[in-house]
């Protein structure tokens, strides 16, 4: 199977007006078999995200949002269907090849922050840079720490930071490698409304300056309405909803 916008890869060959697709899902289904039945978590999801777009994935709890995000990012394999990430058919890649594809190009922000507890704020930001082998890791980490306004807390461990501060570190970490795509799973889910709003501002602001494609899962209608596109999931069935 060829990617739907295969003509547009590599980007140089595409028409100047139309940005290339960075994430594409075709007839994507995810089923898990339990003891006595098969549970369909995602059913025939179709999706195409262009570079620079901001997509919100919404839906009730248990509708399959996280599952879809994980599949799109190549963290898991679908039961059927195809996913193209940065022009690569993920079904042709094994676990390690998918990891290599992610390295330095994909960023993540999670609901539960997922900071390394034993490491300082600065070191948490350093980690993906070190993994990607950046020679300017230190400077970049310091730079991103400043961008999220936590330079003064560089040496503090996550334990010593508030939830909002932790998430800002997580965002700095996600942006530090200049990823092409940033996946965020309910980045404000663990935060109060005010803090959540500020986090979202930060996310959008950084996205605007770094031209990152942003795919975020959220419960928050207000947040979803600020995104360019919105994919709504109902019990595993996806439909694109027009954004007001």
């Amino acid at each position: 199977m060829t990617p739907p916008d295969s003509a547009q890869f590599p980007a140089e060959s595409s028409s100047a007006s139309q940005p290339p697709s960075v994430v594409t899902a075709r007839a994507l289904s995810q089923r898990v078999s339990t003891a006595d039945s098969t549970l369909t978590i995602l059913s025939e999801v179709e999706l195409d995200v262009k570079a620079g777009e901001i997509l919100a994935i919404t839906g009730a709890s248990g509708s399959g949002k996280s599952t879809l995000l994980g599949l799109l990012a190549g963290l898991d394999q679908p039961s059927s269907g195809d996913i193209f990430l940065l022009g690569q058919n993920l079904s042709e890649l094994d676990e390690d090849a998918r990891a290599r594809l992610r390295a330095g190009r994909i960023g993540f922000v999670f609901q539960s922050f997922q900071l390394l507890p034993a490491r300082s704020a600065l070191e948490n930001i350093l980690l993906p840079l070190e993994l990607a082998g950046r020679t300017d890791a230190r400077e970049r980490a310091a730079h991103w720490l400043e961008r999220v306004g936590l330079t003064a807390r560089a040496a503090h461990t996550p334990r010593q930071l508030s939830g909002g501060e932790q998430q800002r570190i997580a965002i700095a970490r996600a942006f530090a490698t200049d990823p092409q795509i940033l996946f965020a799973d309910e980045p404000t889910g663990n935060l109060d409304a005010d803090t959540g709003a500020r986090i979202i501002e930060l996310l959008f602001e950084l996205n605007a300056s770094a031209h990152t494609t942003l795919i975020l899962v959220t419960h928050d209608d207000a947040l979803a309405s600020r995104c360019q596109r919105r994919l709504h999931l109902i019990a595993g069935h996806a439909s694109e909803v027009a954004v007001a």
Partner: protein, 838 residues
């Protein structure tokens, strides 16, 4: 490369984490234990190897219990036969006589091992003589000036003598001209029970100590070109009988080294137990480390790290810890082995070669193997963690087949054991014993915990809460209990062996048991000695004439060929046996089979039951003995039991009277000298200069001292075992620390006082330690009863102090480890704990 750096970077930040600390600690303990024994064994082995010819004092040594008059024709001109003086030979030669005798000064007397040498002794190696004990020594021939002797330094205090004093040997008197600081073939004087004396061969006559039948060893030494030596030993060998031995310098060292290597191997295996206990601690710590790092690993995979990269990362971490821990362990081992060496050989620093490098390699590789075996399964799971875990926290890492983990750990550990045990049989025995021990300890621990449930029901408050913890973490508690019981048990067992055997032996002696042996009573003295004893109203045994001979033939064929290969090397066949004859059955003997020969004057013998069993002998068998240069046949007419610890002269083989009379036989007797009457002994020694007087209590004290030294050394090793047991306790506690912390926070928010928490922790650990102590006491008592019964035929007895000391020690050590590991959970304010748990 990048991932190696990253691994180190991540490791550096976590160096203070509990798991790494425990892992490192356990590794240090384990490696410290094996390297201590490794270093020492290596030094002793090299000491033997480096000495080579100087170990024998010659290139070739012939020992014989009688003088060799005729040497092979091809080389007679080279031989120090009595008829031919030392000639201008192509082989250098020297001859010496070795025998035991009393050395007396005033009223003090002491048994010594005399070596009467000529001017050429030793042909190889050096004898060093010092003017005073522990002063600068010079290398010089062992031959003292006429009328003088050189003595081992330990003889001086025994006789309250100084260099320059005059002492009596037999009927002659000698001046002590110096002390022996070093001589060939000796690593240290500790293991010799009778101190060494060098005298001139031409002055032996003057002492009148040697009489027909006296026990003497003739030492003939040769040195020269290798091809001449080979030719000489080839012609000489066929002329030697079974009581004479030809030892090449290589062979001499080899036999000794073989015996030593065996002992060394067992000690190394003891050390290995500590390493294996450490493995348990490491495995637990590694498991917890993996548990706590699944998120980190998943995150890194999410950020694009491949499995290969993660493998590199964690391998570097592990290797770094492994090398670090092993090197620290080796350093500790190097210090400990010096302590051990000094315990065994007080002058080890000068006697032993310096530390070798080989044990460092062995210890480091052992450490890495143990670390790998213990932690690979956990790390393999860590590497295979699914990246999706970042979204679904509950997602467990891919299960690594239990069989794969078991295979990885099992094969690494087996490799380690095989390496230390050397041969397949020992591996089997060791693994079997270990498995059995683990099984028994697990069962006992489970049983004890079950009993603990009853106690818990009766208790209340924090104690009840603490005990509940112990019972809840059943797997952990079993492991902790098992590990600590094992450590305490082995330590206690050694202590018991040391004190019990000797004490038990002395305790059960009848009050007037003989306390002196009179040995080497020459035929012409025997009547006089018997008179002397009855005159002084001393209770003495019969005087048993004694000849030395070797059992060679059974029913017409060489006896070795009738035995399975592993029994052919039995001591009973190799050594010369003490043979006696008497018409009356000795007091402590009982006939088990056949009929006592009594006065029946025929070629009949009675054989001790143990020997009969070992060599498969029965009444009616015809045995052939080699006695001196003649052979003698006799038929077994009875099998006797012998009470070996009766302090009476005991014999494996007793002939009917009339068979051995023609042979020169010195007699042996035992005698009870009441404490008040020991003043007569110097008189006895003077009256019968050739007779050796052995003070049994002194002999026992000597044996005990040697025993204590060896066991003390091993006990030092068992210190590692205790430390490893503590590491296991700490590792298991760490593994449950998160859950405990959560509970503590909950309790504190519910209003529990800090003291309540502390009390509940203490009661948990004290209970654990007490239980381990009790179990260890029980195990030690049972093992000790078996050992005394089976090995030493002593009645088993209970050791009440053990039941007090072990539980106390257990409570103290476990309490300490537990408190150190968990104390902070009572201190942290609840709010901070809640945040920490996030």
């Amino acid at each position: 490369m990048r991932f190696m750096r990253l691994g180190l970077w991540l490791l550096r930040r976590e160096r203070s984490s509990g798991e790494w600390r425990v892992l490192l600690l356990a590794l240090i303990i384990g490696v410290g234990s094996v390297s201590t024994t490794g270093f020492l064994g290596d030094r002793l082995k090299r000491a033997m190897g480096e000495q080579g010819a100087s170990f024998l004092g010659a290139d070739l040594l012939v020992t014989s219990s009688r003088a060799i008059e005729s040497w092979p024709a091809s080389s007679t001109q080279n031989i120090p036969a009595k008829s031919s003086p030392l000639s201008t030979s192509s082989l250098a030669t020297s001859q010496a006589l070795e025998f035991s005798s009393m050395v007396a000064k005033g009223d003090a007397f002491q048994l010594a091992t005399l070596r009467a040498v000529d001017a050429a002794y030793p042909l190889r190696g050096t004898v060093r003589i010092a003017p005073q004990p522990f002063t600068e020594s010079t290398s010089r021939p062992a031959l003292p000036p006429p009328g003088a002797i050189y003595v081992a330094p330990d003889l001086l205090p025994l006789l309250s003598a100084n260099v320059g004093d005059s002492v009596q040997i037999g009927e002659a008197s000698f001046t002590i001209a110096g002390v022996v600081a070093e001589e060939p073939g000796q690593l240290g004087g500790v293991f010799g029970l009778a101190p060494r004396v060098f005298m001139r061969a031409d002055e032996v006559e003057r002492t009148h100590v040697l009489q027909p039948g006296s026990r003497v060893t003739y030492l003939y030494q040769f040195a020269g070109e290798p091809n001449q030596l080979t030719a000489f030993s080839a012609t000489l060998k066929p002329t030697l009988d079974s009581t004479q031995r030809l030892i090449g310098s290589r062979e001499g060292v080899e036999t000794l080294r073989g015996a030593f290597a065996n002992a060394d191997r067992y000690i190394q295996l003891t050390a290995l137990i500590s390493l294996l206990l450490s493995v348990a601690a490491i495995a637990i710590a590694a498991h917890r480390h993996a548990l706590r790092h699944y998120d980190q690993a998943a995150l890194m995979r999410c950020m694009g790290a491949t499995t290969a990269q993660l493998r590199t990362l964690y391998a570097v971490q592990l290797l770094t810890l492994g090398v670090l821990g092993s090197l620290i362990g080796v350093a500790i081992g190097a210090l400990m082995q010096q302590a051990l060496a000094l315990l065994i050989l007080p002058d080890a620093a000068t006697r032993l070669p310096s530390l070798g490098l080989a044990p460092v390699g062995i210890a480091v590789v052992s450490g890495l193997l143990a670390l790998a075996g213990a932690s690979l399964p956990a790390l393999m799971r860590l590497i295979r963690v699914p990246p999706l875990r970042v979204l679904r926290r509950d997602l467990p890492p891919l299960p690594l087949g239990a069989w794969i983990s078991a295979a990885v750990s099992g094969s690494t550990l087996l490799l380690l054991i095989a390496w230390y045990a050397g041969d397949a049989k020992l591996v089997g025995v060791f693994v079997g014993a270990l498995a059995g021990l683990v099984l028994v300890l697990t069962l006992l621990a489970r049983l004890a915990l079950f009993a603990g449930r009853g106690v818990q029901r009766l208790s209340h408050g924090p104690v009840r809460f603490g005990l509940a913890q112990l019972l809840r973490h059943r797997f952990d508690s079993t492991l902790q209990l098992g590990a600590f019981t094992l450590a305490l048990f082995l330590v206690a067992l050694l202590a018991l062996v040391r004190s019990d055997l000797i004490a038990g032996w002395q305790q059960q002696l009848p009050p007037e048991a003989p306390n002196y042996f009179l040995v080497n009573i020459a035929p012409y003295q025997q009547a006089a000695v018997a008179d002397y004893l009855s005159q002084h109203q001393l209770k003495a045994s019969e005087l048993y004439p004694m000849v030395r001979g070797r059992l060679t033939i059974k029913n017409g064929v060489p006896i070795a060929s009738t035995l399975p290969p592993e029994l052919r090397d039995s001591n009973t066949l190799r050594r010369e046996l003490n043979l006696t004859w008497t018409a009356t059955l000795p007091a402590n003997n009982a006939i088990l089979a056949g009929q006592w020969h009594g006065t029946h004057n025929a070629a009949e013998i009675s054989v001790e039951s143990g020997m009969a069993e070992r060599l498969n002998l029965a009444v009616g068998d015809q045995l052939g003995f080699q006695i001196g240069d003649q052979t003698l046949d006799a038929r077994i007419t009875s099998i006797r039991s012998v009470k070996w610890d009766s302090m009476q002269p005991n014999f494996f083989v007793i002939f009917a009277p009339g068979q051995l009379d023609a042979l020169p036989a010195a007699a042996i007797a035992s005698v009870y000298v009441p404490p008040g009457a020991s003043g007569m002994l110097p008189g006895f020694v003077k009256a019968f200069p050739g007779v050796t007087v052995l003070a049994l209590d002194k002999l026992i004290a000597n044996i005990e001292a040697v025993f204590a030294q060896i066991i003390g050394a091993i006990q030092l090793l068992l210190g590692f075992l205790l430390a490893a047991g503590m590491a296991v306790v700490i590792a298991t506690l760490l593994a449950s620390l998160d859950a405990r912390q959560q509970e503590a926070v909950l309790l504190r928010t519910l209003g529990a006082q800090r003291a309540y928490l502390a009390k509940s922790l203490w009661s948990e650990f004290l209970a654990l330690g007490l239980l381990a102590g009790l179990l260890a006491s029980a195990c030690a008592e049972i093992a000790m009863a078996l050992i005394s019964d089976r090995l030493f035929e002593l009645p088993a007895r209970l050791h009440p102090w053990l039941w007090l000391a072990l539980p106390l020690a257990g409570a103290l050590l476990v309490g300490m480890s537990g408190w150190l590991t968990t104390r902070h959970i009572t201190r942290v304010p609840p709010m901070q704990s809640i945040r920490a748990l996030g």
